[in-house]
Symmetry: C2
Subunit: 670 residues, 2 copies
């Protein structure tokens, strides 16, 4: 095909995604937000979320300017890499802003629609998740392809991907610290000290907590996967140019992504939940079935389409099999995640039973489960990597990462559905909707817990493959043929990479500790100083809690952010470029496995608690339940802060290495 036609097709796909977003937004906004009370709560959440974003974006802008200057001065081609970097930053930020804006408009609408029809509530929440999903793929593909069509220089493309990483650092790491500071802070005073229920409007931190769901699981998750998505495509393009030549190499990944958008839209449109009678379990099962249909449809269509595209572009089918390896690995890791974290299976039930012997045994059992659960993802990623390499060399690895991410529009819609359903259940509680509506919203929320757990497993696995793709790109860019373990600099790099992972996790968890401590003090202060708050006659100051949690989150990000930027540079300038390869591998192996462990342990503790709350082993309020609550509280920063932050770490060190790789090689290694 003519390059011009290809360009048009690719750009059209990006536009199509954004058009689909417009259609979804229109259908969502058509719905009513319900009562005044509901509108008011939803507005408070939206204002809080936007206040968080505003403050994050101001700091991000300053950060971007600094990095822009550094890139413009040091990195060739000047200043194109720096310009592409800013484009990557702004498109990712825009996607986060749009997705979160709609998510916070959809929460009350979901709750309100549920009054009439459970299926309609599901549809709205899913559509709102799809807004985030298709903003990510649409803006990602459009941004990257426009950059690529203007400057056919792979270094510039990498700049765009680097920009996406900066946003992910702020929204995923900062958002993760924010969300758990607010959550733990709200619970410690509200539930424990004051004895008021979850999501009670009298709690000054309740809005901050609901904002946190959007911040962490919509904007954070979106920016994380935006980064993985752009990474996989950009790495495939860079390696594709080396292997397939400049035309085919650049167009193949972009065209696959364009087709991925089309099949994802078809998949999303196939999600058509049918109304069922008021039965929690049946509703949950139906919702899962409806979403799974979307996943299957888009996967099957993608497999067929990529077969023909790759055969006509490359001739052979090696890269097709590489793509399938990644796609299958992603799917199977999801299944494994479900096995280890769902209350329907043995591991989580075992944690619930362990809670009968107290909190310590609960923690030990959960840790053991989390550790054990790493084996399947590790093996699947290792096997997918080896197969992808056999089928397509280093390019095959990047294509495998694309295989996992090519249907991201559909998959992210499912992931981001969760926090919106969660918010709607919160609004139903705060606005005092009837028991039946609350139960329906809780059924939506229960579905969201599973899709969120799957999403976490998927985000980690795709981060692992994306960072393997960066490793491959680093070898190409820094012109490294050999980085041998017989080289002591490489070994030192691996060790330091491993240490970096643990320090990064520790800092993220410390951030939650400090942040929640500040929230606790603020909530106590409001209960003490605002007369009539406990009686419900006065209103709490929601904004100050949002503000405090945001400030604390930004402060807690400084050190991990600096470390992840400076350690690769310091190592590259002292021990040389091979040591940096060691660093990437050390960070990858420890970060990937630790992230899986933390996500799955956290998910399993959460569901073990819910299993007990559903009336098993003594039910709510029993000693067993109390032990399970402790497990869940430990799991929160694991699965929502430290674990997801590691996704960012392993990708970001790779990008720092790739961007600065050409500089290292000008210096003589030790």
């Amino acid at each position: 095909m003519e390059p011009l036609i290809l360009k048009i097709i690719i750009l059209m796909a990006g536009v199509l995604a954004l058009g689909f977003v417009g259609y979804l937004v229109a259908t969502i906004l058509r719905e009513s937000e319900g009562t005044e009370k509901m509108k008011e709560i939803s507005l408070a959440i939206r204002q809080g979320a936007m206040a968080f974003l505003r403050r994050e974006f101001i700091t991000l802008a300053a950060f971007t300017v600094v990095v822009f200057i550094v890139l413009a001065i040091f990195i060739e081609p000047k200043p194109l890499v720096a310009i592409a970097y800013v484009c990557g930053t702004s498109t990712s930020a825009l996607a986060g802003w749009l997705g979160m804006n709609i998510a916070t408009k959809a929460n009350a609408r979901t709750a309100n629609a549920t009054i009439g029809s459970w299926a309609k509530g599901l549809k709205i929440a899913f559509s709102s998740g799809a807004v985030m999903g298709f903003c990510v793929v649409g803006l990602g593909l459009l941004g990257l392809s426009i950059i690529a069509f203007i400057w056919e220089d792979s270094h510039v493309w990498l700049g765009f991907a680097f920009g996406a990483s900066s946003v992910a650092l702020f929204l995923r790491v900062g958002g993760g610290i924010y969300t758990k500071s607010a959550d733990v802070g709200a619970d410690l005073v509200g539930k424990v000290e004051k004895g008021i229920p979850e999501d009670d409007a009298r709690n000054p931190a309740v809005i901050a907590d609901n904002v946190g769901d959007n911040v962490g699981d919509v904007a954070g998750m979106g920016s994380d996967l935006y980064e993985s998505y752009v990474s996989a495509i950009a790495a495939s393009m860079v390696l594709g140019v080396v292997v397939l030549g400049s035309v085919k190499g650049m167009f193949l990944p972009l065209l696959l992504s364009a087709v991925g958008i089309v099949v994802s839209i078809i998949g999303a449109l196939s999600v058509r939940p049918k109304e069922v009678e008021a039965n929690f379990e049946k509703q949950v099962a139906k919702a899962h079935a409806a979403m799974n249909t979307g996943v299957y449809v888009s996967n099957i269509l993608m497999i067929i389409a990529s077969f023909f595209i790759i055969r006509s572009f490359v001739g052979g089918l090696g890269l097709f099999w590489a793509l399938i390896s990644g796609l299958l690995a992603g799917f199977l890791i999801g299944q494994a995640t479900e096995y280890f974290t769902s209350a329907e299976h043995a591991p989580t039930k075992k944690i619930a039973r362990a809670a009968q012997n107290g909190a310590a045994v609960t923690i030990i059992e959960g840790m053991a489960t989390g550790m054990m659960s790493t084996v399947i993802p590790v093996l699947l990623v290792a096997i997918a990597t080896v197969l992808a390499y056999i089928f397509g060399g280093l390019l095959g690895i990047a294509i495998a990462a694309m295989g996992m991410l090519v249907n991201l529009g559909m998959l992210l819609a499912m992931d981001c559905y969760g926090p919106i359903a969660d918010n709607s259940a919160g609004i139903a509680q705060m606005a005092g909707l009837g028991k039946e509506v609350r139960e329906r919203c809780e059924a939506l929320d229960a579905v969201g817990n599973t899709t969120a757990a799957l999403g976490k497993g998927f985000a980690i696995a795709s981060a692992a493959l994306a960072s393997l793709a960066w490793l491959a790109t680093y070898f190409a860019v820094a012109k490294i043929d050999v980085a041998s373990l017989t080289n002591v600099g490489v070994i030192a790099g691996v060790l330091i990479g491993g240490g970096l992972t643990f320090v990064f996790s520790a800092l993220a968890m410390r951030g939650v500790g400090d942040g929640s401590f500040a929230i606790v003090n603020e909530v106590r202060r409001q209960f003490r100083e605002i007369k009539g708050l406990m009686e419900g006659t006065a209103k709490p100051d929601y904004v100050s809690c949002v503000d405090i949690a945001t400030k604390k989150a930004l402060k807690a990000m400084v050190l991990p952010g600096i470390l992840v930027l400076l350690v690769p540079l310091a190592l590259g300038f002292t021990l040389g470029p091979e040591a940096v390869a060691g660093l990437l591998v050390g960070a990858l192996v420890t970060g990937f496995i630790l992230a899986v462990m933390m996500a799955n342990a956290g998910g399993a503790w959460d569901n073990a608690k819910k299993y007990i709350e559903a009336g098993n082993l003594g039910g709510k309020g029993s000693d067993t339940h109390k032990a399970a609550v402790i497990g869940d509280t430990v799991g929160d920063p694991f699965k929502d802060t430290a674990g997801p932050s590691l996704n960012i770490l392993i990708k970001l060190v790779g990008k720092v290495a790739v961007i600065f790789g050409p500089v290292f090689i000008m210096l003589v290694p030790l």
Copy 2:
């Protein structure tokens, strides 16, 4: 010097160590065991410990026979490697048996001596620790040098070191599972359900618990460091022969070890605690000072001696600096361990304060502390490795490991002092000795907690350096010049090595869960079925608890044992020898860092609890204390089971690779 004279000097040093052991045993046995009650308790502990060892050794013997046959059939030179393997197994087992025998004879004697003189009690406990220490270095050096003098073939030497690993697997991993099963089981029924104090003679699991201290911290620690010690020497010899030629290469490491024994004896003899008035803090400070004198004396003498030996053997001083790098890294890691785990410093105090907000926050803070504490050991090992390599190439790395371990006699004496002091405090409690004596014993125990924590940090660091030495040896033996991270098999190996670490830890922790569950049931059964047990009129069946914990520990070892043997082989035969190098590095980086995290988190939780028990933040019985107890209980299997087991894992995969390396290279890699 003439080889014959060197041989005599080396053998004499080994004999001297054993002679010193004989002298120590004589001084210990000269003391009285105290009252009938004390004799009885001590006898019960000794019988339990010996019952544990008997059962472990029977299974070990069967295991040894199987491995012997495999080695005799497959590994050249046949059957010499197999014979050396059996020699390594039996000398390590003998060291464990001797050390534990004397430790269980010294506990009552320590308690009894303390009645008259606090300093005398300290001296006896330290002497008994020194029995373990000098059994290890004496038998290790004698065994290895006799093998080396008979067969000057480096493959045979490796067989001896491989034998030491098998024993460590049984005593350290099995012992670790045993000790925490008994401990947790005893506490859950005794303290929690029945409300009787720690170390109460009515608790059927109390002897099993006291046996556990010896099993885990004397025999387990001893066999772990026996393995590291022999590993460092053997790896230095193998690489030494390659670099320095067969005569110098073989003799230099052995001669350094011989001198290490002599200076360690001088160091141990310099430990002369002075009597102080009955003041807990002063006693603890004096005890630390006395032991530190021994460490400083032996370190300084060793530095001087090795300077002259290396200069006269090699000419240059490169290897001397490599040795110093390892020695210094070991010393500094000890200091960092103390900072992160001692209640005198900020991190542990912060955990204690976190306990004011409940168990969940205690766990999160402890995990963050453990993760943060990895950074210094990681950097020190990385720096020591790079420096050692700069000064002496791959041989330098092995010599650095020797630098850390060459004074092992003195260092292990200090480590093994801890459990004996712990046991003596238990006996003082069970035998109802006066308050003053109990307090003196508790001062001895407090010192032991610190030396034990230092010992754990040291054991991990030396395991890391020893396994780096094995990696270097693997490259030499399997004739690998390059194992590049650009090779996807190497990457898959690194990932699988990381997964192996996490699964291994999970299995060890699960073993504790299952074992303690069985003990809980047995203790409950005895309280139910034995009339008059609670009233103190009937005696519990101590033996059955020991027996159950031993059986459970052996059963729990099967799967991790098989994994660590089979995974390197499976990888080598499918993805080739380079992938195995990746496996070793993946297991090393994750295992080392995870072990440090677990040991330090566990130590910090333990000391945070003790800090509160000393009357801070509400003291014993407060809610803060309860939260700290939960932290401590989570930390127990971290620091005493899973963490130390990883030392064995990272060394053992290296040895399996080295032994079977020559077989891999005959096969065509993928």
